[in-house]
């Protein structure tokens, strides 16, 4: 069983490495019509790093889900090739962050084998998560990008706290809801045909709502706010089984978001651009329109790898045709070059990750593990939805990264920590499924 699980992981990593090799080969062929062995070398490096991680998993988490790591490695490989095709030096950074991400991944597994310990520090974790979220507004280290306060810059290092605080918030919520879910269910009252949670326990929920509204105003980022709040609702629903809570929460979010969308200029502008991109096609609406135009140019099969236009040829000074192609609009570039089929492939990978992540939650025996796996998977999936939805005009475009694919150190490192936590939960759940001795730990809920 054990070696079988890990063997499946190994078997899945081989095609991922081959895909990366083939991707680089395609980029090189496109750029200079030469086929050196560089792509094979890159493929070998990538495979070596993945192999090391795999061996580490074999020792540390022999029973963990065998597909999650290969799926995420696949996204990383895809992202690396895509970024390399945009800018070689960015891809080098990304590769370094990939390695750094795996180191943090290993460290998380090393030191959080008993991840229940997180429950003990849940308020500390929540506080840290919220504090680092506010850091971008601090003078001196804060960084404003397109009107939103998403980054922190200390010396040469800059990072996006939202990527890390999403994990902190999920840990807190999972722990808090594990403890209070019973009272939330039992204490609920039906008022005017609507099931409302008991007021006493409603307080913390209001705090979470307030926090996401606060984010909207304070860091002015609709995307992160949406991502956090959706994860909260997902967890609330899974913990209590009360759909009405979700409806109430959604209504509160919509009212709050509407209020701030009409009063906070930056958020208001984001919504206006979303609704009327053609009002200012060369200014405010430029990015979303170019994102859509790039997709229109892709068609079913795309223009071919490396064939898409990212900058305006010959423009002085250089001007972007697809702004933020390596981060926000990388999905549009994927549609442009690989077509609808390529894009569906990417979405399918996210869907498979979501499926495996929720499988981990299903298999988990205790409430905290279940809620943690659910929350991590939900926040990851919703992040993918928020950015892909943004560039396809489903929702307003915001500066969230496409997990593992977009360029960005914080994103890749944080998401590997997220993966580590998921695998920790998975390893225990699957081991206990084999050795039913752990049954008594379960809270016996379904």
């Amino acid at each position: 069983m054990r070696s079988g699980t890990r063997n499946r992981e190994l078997a899945a990593l081989v095609p991922v490495a081959l895909l990366l090799t083939a991707g680089f080969a395609a980029v090189f062929a496109q750029e200079s019509s030469r086929l050196g062995n560089l792509s094979v070398i890159y493929g070998a490096y990538f495979f070596a790093v993945c192999l090391a991680t795999h061996i580490y998993l074999r020792i540390r988490l022999p029973d963990a889900d065998p597909y999650l790591f290969p799926l995420m490695a696949l996204l990383t490989a895809f992202g690396l090739v895509m970024i390399y095709r945009i800018d070689e030096s960015l891809a080098r950074d990304q590769a370094n962050w990939f390695v750094l991400g795996l180191v943090l991944f290993a460290l998380t597994i090393q030191f959080l084998r008993d991840y229940e310990i997180l429950e003990r520090y849940r308020y500390t974790i929540a506080a840290i998560g919220l504090l680092i979220l506010m850091a971008p507004r601090l003078p001196g280290i804060g960084e404003q990008v397109n009107g939103a306060y998403l980054g922190v810059k200390v010396g040469p290092l800059s990072f996006q706290p939202a990527e890390f605080s999403k994990i902190a918030i999920v840990i807190f919520l999972a722990s808090y809801l594990r403890e209070n879910r019973e009272v939330l269910i039992v204490g609920a009252r039906r008022i005017l045909g609507v099931t409302l949670p008991p007021l006493k326990h409603f307080g913390p929920m209001l705090v979470v709502w307030g926090a996401s509204m606060f984010m909207l105003v304070f860091i002015r980022d609709l995307g992160s706010s949406l991502m956090f709040f959706a994860a909260f609702l997902a967890l609330l629903y899974v913990a209590t089984g009360r759909f009405s809570f979700v409806v109430i929460g959604m209504a509160m979010f919509v009212v709050g978001a509407w209020f701030f969308a009409t009063t906070v200029p930056h958020v208001h502008q984001r919504v206006e651009i979303w609704l009327h991109p053609y009002h200012d096609p060369r200014g405010a609406g430029y990015q979303i329109l170019q994102s859509i135009f790039a997709q229109a140019d892709g068609g079913l099969f795309g223009k071919g790898f490396g064939q898409g236009l990212i900058t305006i040829p010959g423009a002085h000074p250089p001007a972007a045709l697809l702004p933020a192609a390596q981060t926000d609009t990388i999905y549009s570039l994927i549609v442009n070059e690989l077509g609808l089929f390529g894009a569906c492939g990417v979405i399918l990978i996210y869907l498979l990750i979501a499926a495996r992540g929720f499988k981990v939650a299903l298999l988990a025996n205790d409430g905290f593990s279940k809620l943690l796996a659910t929350g991590l998977t939900a926040v990851f999936s919703i992040q993918a939805f928020v950015i892909i939805g943004g560039v396809t005009r489903v929702i307003p475009l915001t500066g969230v990264t496409l997990p593992f694919v977009s360029y960005g150190g914080s994103s890749i490192v944080a998401n590997f920590v997220l993966l580590a936590l998921l695998l920790l939960v998975s390893d225990r759940a699957r081991r206990e499924a084999v050795q039913p001795a752990g049954r008594d730990l379960a809270l016996g809920v379904t």
């Binding site: 899974v238 549609v335 869907l351 892909i388």
Partner: protein, 486 residues
């Protein structure tokens, strides 16, 4: 909790399905509309990245080529016209931001290497970049230069030269010229020149009263319909009454009873006016239509840059055989009759080619970047307006014009020339500034008369001179350039 987790997963599936739906909408279903959006520069920018094929003169001289600018992602191609203004017509221009015209426009597919969907997928798989093919034209560099220089000296006008046996277009010059290289800087200015209209191809778009050159068509209809033979005589007084108007000869000269040769040699109006009436509108129009009147000329240029020749009604429509016209005046190339220089050259070419009109063709082959001939254009017959016998009789009469008649300036020493002059009075022509003494001067013909190698129409507008003074010398120079060039 497991039930809720499954439901949550279902919800995520729905969210992702929405993403797939939106992506499909933008990339496939709404793609056509999005590509047509004004804010969308992509289609143009992508065009710029294709190396457009060259356009070559018959002798291989490069008329148009694409020059690479920048590299990598910044690579783009810009059109250059090494011969400058010489081939502004009929080649036109092609610039991403400013559009295309004439030959560049009508042959865009070959020049950009546009392929079928299947072909482009194959190219993608093999990593081939789309590349345009070269087009070799029939245009004669030397003769085009002679025509342009002569026109510049003579005034606004056009010269069209066609090889009668094949339809190969050797010269298509229009004055005022423009330099296609200057289109990016000057397009608006060029559009604003309302009198010189340099962007307008006077050879294929410009319509002018053909004057006496049209008498060849009337004569063809007379011979073809059996209304006359070369021996038939018609009394040609100094003037005749034509539906209440007076139709007169130059200086009211009374020619008495004469046959076709004398009448054409001396361009006798009253003779041809009566011939027109004798032939009747139906037969005259039938012959005209066979020569190409009343149809878009069968030449490979964009349709909106071509004009139909014929009797033009008030709304700009071409009148047909049932519409009322002053037939005697139509017969001598007046009334509301208008013709393009290309149309008149087609008449000359049909007579020269024993009555058979070949389709005028600017190009003859498409060659890919490896030098392979991808497409070849064979000569093809457009129509047979007159019999070989009629053509021969017309040739004899037209030879008289040059040897002893109104067109002596077209004569080439040692080469028999057949032709016809035309001088249509165009008083108050706004294009010329509204002067009262303005003429449209013409010469059309072919040489050598016994074995025609070239048929030419030369037309000069806004001149106070006659066809023989200003158009016939152009004919002679261009014909000599082509005959000597071979």
């Amino acid at each position: 909790m497991n039930r809720q987790i499954v439901k949550l997963f279902s919800f995520i599936v729905v969210l992702f399905a929405v993403l797939v739906a939106f992506t499909s909408y933008w990339s496939v279903f709404d793609a056509k509309n999005l590509k047509a959006q004004e804010a969308n520069q992509r289609p143009l920018l992508e065009q710029q990245q294709i190396r457009r094929g060259r356009i070559l003169a018959a002798d291989g001289t490069v008329i148009a080529k694409s020059v690479a600018r920048g590299q990598g992602d910044g690579l783009r191609f810009i059109r250059k016209y090494p011969e400058g203004a010489l081939f502004g017509h009929p080649i036109g221009y092609s610039f991403v931001q400013y559009g295309q015209s004439e030959f560049e426009q009508s042959h865009d597919e070959e020049l950009t290497g546009e392929e079928s969907e299947f072909g482009s997928i194959l190219d993608q798989l093999t990593g081939q970049k789309q590349e345009g093919d070269d087009i070799v034209t029939n245009l004669d560099l030397g003769a085009q230069r002679v025509a342009s220089e002569d026109l510049e000296a003579a005034g606004f006008g056009a010269v069209v030269a066609i090889e009668p046996s094949t339809g190969e277009v050797k010269v298509l010059a229009s004055n005022a010229p423009y330099n296609p290289n200057e289109v990016p800087e000057n397009l608006n200015k060029l559009f604003k020149e309302k009198i010189a209209t340099p962007l307008y191809n006077r050879g294929t778009q410009g319509r002018y009263p053909p004057g006496s050159t049209f008498k060849v068509v009337t004569a063809a209809a007379g011979l073809e319909s059996g209304a006359i033979t070369p021996e038939t005589t018609i009394n040609a007084p100094g003037s005749i009454d034509d539906e209440g108007h007076e139709l007169a000869n130059d200086f009211n000269q009374d020619w008495g009873s004469i046959s076709l040769d004398t009448a054409l040699t001396n361009s006798v109006n009253t003779w041809f006016g009566q011939l027109g009436q004798k032939v009747g509108q139906a037969d005259l129009f039938t012959t005209m239509e066979k020569f190409g009147f009343g149809s878009i000329p069968p030449i490979d240029l964009p349709e909106d840059e071509l004009s139909e020749s014929g009797v033009v009604g008030e709304a700009g429509e071409i009148l047909r055989r049932k519409d009322p016209v002053d037939l005697a005046r139509v017969a001598i190339g007046q009334e509301r009759l208008l013709a393009t220089p290309l149309q008149i050259a087609m008449v000359a070419a049909a007579v020269a080619n024993h009555g058979k009109l070949m389709k005028p063709q600017i190009w003859n082959r498409v060659v890919d970047s490896d030098g392979r001939i991808v497409k070849k254009l064979a000569p093809s017959t457009y129509s047979e307006p007159v019999s070989a016998k009629t053509a021969e009789e017309l040739t004899t009469a037209m030879e008289g014009v040059v040897s002893e008649g109104t067109g002596t300036n077209a004569a080439i020493s040692g080469v028999p020339v057949a032709g016809k002059t035309g001088t249509a009075e165009t008083p108050g022509n706004e294009a010329c500034g509204g002067g009262e003494e303005e003429n449209q001067a013409w010469f059309m013909g072919f040489a050598p008369a016994d074995n025609p190698k070239i048929a030419i129409a030369a037309s000069v507008e806004c001149t106070e001179q006659f066809g023989n003074d200003v158009a016939a010398p152009i004919f002679r120079d261009v014909a000599e350039a082509i005959l000597n060039g071979e």
